[in-house]
Amino acid sequence: MKGKQSKDLLEFDRTDRVGLRILLWATVGLAFGAQVLEPLSAWVRGRPIEVPFFSEVTVPALDKVGTGYGVADYLVTIDQPQALDHLLAVLPGIFLVALAVAGAVVVQRVMKAVSNGAPFAAAQVGRLRLLAALLAFGSVVHAFLALSCNGAILGRADLGGLSPALSFSFPWLPMVLGVVIAMIAEAFKAGARLQDDVEGLV
């Protein structure tokens, strides 16, 4: 007697694809709101902007009681930012949103090819490599861009004699993810070749 076939719970069906699409574009929308709309709104309303600042500052109250402290990240509030400051503040966000849009479009195309029954189409390798590059290199470029823009804003600001310094941390997680996706792209390349062979098998 044949048993009833159980449904594969991990199977990526239409509902999952729709859910992922919604999640992707919701993430892009949130990134756009937080990284672009918010700084632009601050610009329009003339609100101050905050810039991370890595420095050793003096805290008289702590000095007085003999408590030690060292360098740390602070938020410098630029009370009366100029148009250039606002532009520099929004620039990394625009780049990040552009990366997110490109990533979402690529993921959607990969997903569409899988749902169309052509997971190993030749174009899939290129798409996965593009996604890997967006994650691995795009995240580093974004980090450098944010660092440069913050440095430029701080360079124009009066820091009361403190020399502007910035701390840079490599975005390891997206970089590692990018390398993993590049590796998966290699597997897809082998898959594309196998599919090509199977199509010509008699």
Binding site: D197, E199, G200, L201, V202
Partner: protein, 74 residues
Amino acid sequence: MPVDEPHRVLCHLDDLLERRGMTLAALADAVGVTVVNLSVLKNNRAKAVRFSTLTAICEALDCAVGELFTIAPE
């Protein structure tokens, strides 16, 4: 010759069918392979042939593998 280069295997299924007075559809029936797949083989568009398919074709046409395929000179 590196394996990535296009092959030079020629299939003589057309000649063999003509000599045996057999149609492609009849061969497909006898062998249990679709006409489309046999057509791919006949027109030299196949990249690989299963040993089982080859055995069945040679049995149906009463021929040797060497009669079915040759390698074109460079």
